[in-house]
């Protein structure tokens, strides 16, 4: 194919020059005698019915190509600026229209449509009159062929098709989108000389499979050109004889079948499913539509394909919607349950929660995390100090050793740094605030009921090896409040959370013990 395309391109460039330089009328006159000689030997040979039908279609191609060649060049220069021209071969004709079709779909600008319409109409006016003269002779030839080879069944099918075509013709006049497909179809076709030259070797060389493809493509592209002058004039061409009049009526109806299918997307039952399918599928649909005239089986295949498209599209949409709705509902419920569960777990971890709403839980978590960070830092510092002190003094410590370690203490400070931490604990009736700066401990105590706080706290301080320095406090109404300033004895490993927890536990236990006492009292 690649090697075959190159000489075709060369031929196209050769043919392009005489068209541009010469006038339209002389070109038609030159082409006119070329059309007759190939048809006569075909008739003389007397091929099968399929071949005769192919020949009639080819003649229609030649006539329509005369207009196509003029329309072909101008739109390409203005729109596409493409130097290459489509050849008459079916393979290239099938390949080239698709990208143009896609390109036009991409650029659906209003201006381009207007330009196409104007150019198209002007060319129709110029070509209308000489076209009529040329149309009479091939129609007569076509009539003779049809009379010779037509069957009763074919006639009945054609009559039905004629009725459909007539209806489509009316709808076509009403629709404004008629010109778009014609502009799409016009560019691919070259001058008739190329067709004459290329069809001869193609028909002789190609197999039977290639011929049906040629037949399918030909009628779709013939009909719009033939109909345009008829619609433009408004009247049918004048026929002196009855047979010629019937033949003229036959031709537009014959061609009406094909072109309105692509433009009328949602008007007819066949065109509706094409809206669902891709543009390539619509191309195939038009091909199947062309096949209706050739064979009855083609229409059945076309219907089957279209129905299959309908069946496949609808349930997938339904499945998608149902699945999403169910999945979304279940996911949302699980998400909320998990979030509530996590908030509960978080609240249980906090030692003294305040309220149950989410903002309070998050606030308490923030405070507790900060407290944990301070505690971890404090404990790490103590561990380091302990190791340093242990390495320094390996002897077991007694009171005398404690005095000696006081002397050693200044050396320890720069390594460990100054220790700082603070802590707060609350219970039902007690509140304890502990602050530690290096060796000094400040304990602030606040309790509701009257019990001898001073005694119990002093006991705790002795247990924790804290040396008492200053105490201040007393009873105020139902509450008692005390402030203790103490000092950590050397060798003690106490830390803020331990002090606070111990003090609160003692106070709560004593308070619980005091309740029966008050009852007895």
């Amino acid at each position: 194919m690649s090697t075959g395309d190159r000489p075709k391109m060369h031929d196209q460039t050769g043919c392009f020059d005489p068209n541009t330089t010469g006038e339209s009328v002389p070109s038609l006159k030159d082409n006119f005698p070329q059309t007759l000689p190939p048809s006569s030997p075909m008739v003389v040979v007397g091929n099968t019915t399929t071949n005769s039908i192919n020949n009639s279609l080819e003649e229609n191609l030649r006539l329509s190509v005369e207009e196509l060649s003029c329309n072909h060049h101008n739109p390409q220069h203005q729109q596409d600026h493409v130097s290459t021209y489509a050849s008459g071969v079916t393979a290239t004709s099938i390949e080239i229209p698709l990208p143009q079709h896609l390109g036009l779909n991409m650029g659906n600008s209003y201006i381009n449509n207007n330009n196409n319409m104007d150019n198209h109409l002007v060319q129709e006016v110029i070509d209308a009159f000489p076209y009529q003269q040329s149309t009479w002779d091939p129609t007569i030839v076509q009539e003779l062929q049809d009379m010779a080879y037509a069957n009763h069944t074919e006639q009945t099918q054609q009559q039905q098709q004629n009725e459909q075509q007539f209806q489509q013709f009316e709808t076509q006049n009403c629709s404004q989108s008629y010109n778009n497909p014609s502009s799409i179809l016009d560019p691919p076709y070259p001058s008739p000389d190329l067709l004459n030259l290329l069809h001869m070797p193609r028909c002789s060389a190609s197999s039977l499979l290639t011929n049906p493809s040629i037949c399918l493509t030909n009628p779709t592209q013939n009909t719009p050109n033939f109909q345009n002058p008829m619609a433009f004039l408004g009247d049918l061409p004048i026929g002196s004889e009855n047979t010629s009049a019937s033949s003229v009526l036959y031709d537009p109806l014959f061609h009406l079948n094909l072109p309105p299918q692509p433009p009328a997307l949602r008007e007819l039952f066949q065109s509706l499913p094409r809206g669902y399918s891709l543009p390539t599928n619509s191309r195939n649909g038009s091909l199947f539509g062309g096949g209706d005239e050739m064979e009855g089986d083609g229409s059945q295949l076309d219907m089957g394909v279209l129905e299959f498209n309908r069946v496949t599209l609808t349930p997938s949409v339904g499945k998608g919607r149902r699945g999403k709705a169910t999945k979304h509902f279940a996911t949302e419920k699980q998400r909320r349950e998990q979030l509530n569960g996590k908030y509960k777990i978080l609240r249980n971890l906090i030692p003294s929660p305040t309220k149950t709403d989410r903002a309070s839980v998050v606030g308490d978590a923030i405070d507790y995390i900060r407290e944990l960070i301070r505690t971890v830092n404090e404990l790490k510092l103590l561990v380091e100090k302990k190791r340093y002190a242990k390495d320094r003094c390996k002897r077991p410590k007694t009171e005398e050793d404690a005095a000696e370690s006081c002397n050693i203490k200044p050396f320890g400070d720069p390594d460990g740094g100054i220790r700082t931490s603070w802590l707060q604990r609350k219970s039902k009736d007690s509140e304890v605030d502990v602050r530690i700066i290096d060796d000094d401990v400040t304990i602030k105590l606040f309790q509701r009921k009257k019990i001898n706080c001073l005694l119990f706290v002093s006991k705790v301080l002795d247990e924790l090896q804290l040396e008492l320095h200053h105490v201040a406090g007393g009873h105020v109404g139902e509450y008692c409040s005390f402030l203790f300033n103490s000092k950590i004895m050397e060798g003690s490993s106490v830390y803020a959370s331990a002090i606070a927890n111990r003090v609160i536990d003692v106070l709560d236990s004593q308070y619980a013990a005091a309740v029966p006492h008050t009852n007895s009292y």
Partner: protein, 200 residues
């Protein structure tokens, strides 16, 4: 905006109110929901704290849609839970280590001593007492500074039945200055003790 519309529709479902809601879109002064400001503050409060919690917790669990899960509330709360548990484990291990080191270095011997109230009072250095009311006594004491002495004093007071209402303890170099406002709760013993103290 969608949340405001949702809460608004929840309150008022009639067409009449819907017309008013349309007015709300154009001119905010025409209508305001009762709960608009309260709900706005509540949501702002919670979101602010969530952001602060996210900044405190260094753990970030990432899943495929990163933008979605990074700021997801469930993920933030889960990470906070994980971090708190981790820190608690660290605290336990460090405190255990401290106790082990302390146990190897020292052995604390608990000493049990019986307290004799009368003898304890005799050991006191200087005692000044001023009788204020029938049951109340202002006492000023100077005690030798030793470990556990203040505790013993408190225990003695408690055994006697004296309640300390206001107390100040100040430490000088090697002495406690105890200023106490006492109140006697029990009858017989209290009088006896007061006589002794007053006599001294």
């Amino acid at each position: 905006m969608s949340l405001d519309e949702f809460s608004f529709n929840a309150e008022n479902g009639s067409n009449r109110e819907r017309m008013r809601r349309k007015n709300y879109d154009y001119d905010t002064q025409v209508f305001k929901s009762k709960n608009l400001e309260v709900e706005r503050r509540r949501r702002e409060k919670l979101s602010t704290r969530i952001l602060l919690l996210r900044s405190l917790v260094p753990i970030i669990t990432m899943q495929q849609p990163l933008e979605l899960h990074l700021m997801n509330k469930a993920t933030i709360v889960e990470d906070a839970i994980t971090y708190i548990e981790t820190q608690q484990n660290i605290v336990q291990s460090l405190s255990y280590e401290l106790h082990e080191m302390e146990a190897t270095s020292e052995e604390i011997k608990p000493k049990k001593e019986e307290i004799d109230a009368a003898e304890e009072m005799n050991k006191l250095g200087i005692v000044q007492a001023t009788k204020i009311d029938g049951n109340k006594l202002w006492v000023k004491m100077i005690i030798e500074k030793k470990r556990g002495r203040f505790k013993k004093l408190m225990e003695a007071m408690d055994n006697i039945g004296i309640e300390l209402i206001d107390t100040n303890v100040t430490t000088l170099k090697k002495a406690y200055l105890v200023t106490t406002f006492m109140q006697v709760t029990l009858g017989k013993i209290g009088i006896f003790v007061m006589d002794i103290v007053w006599g001294n």
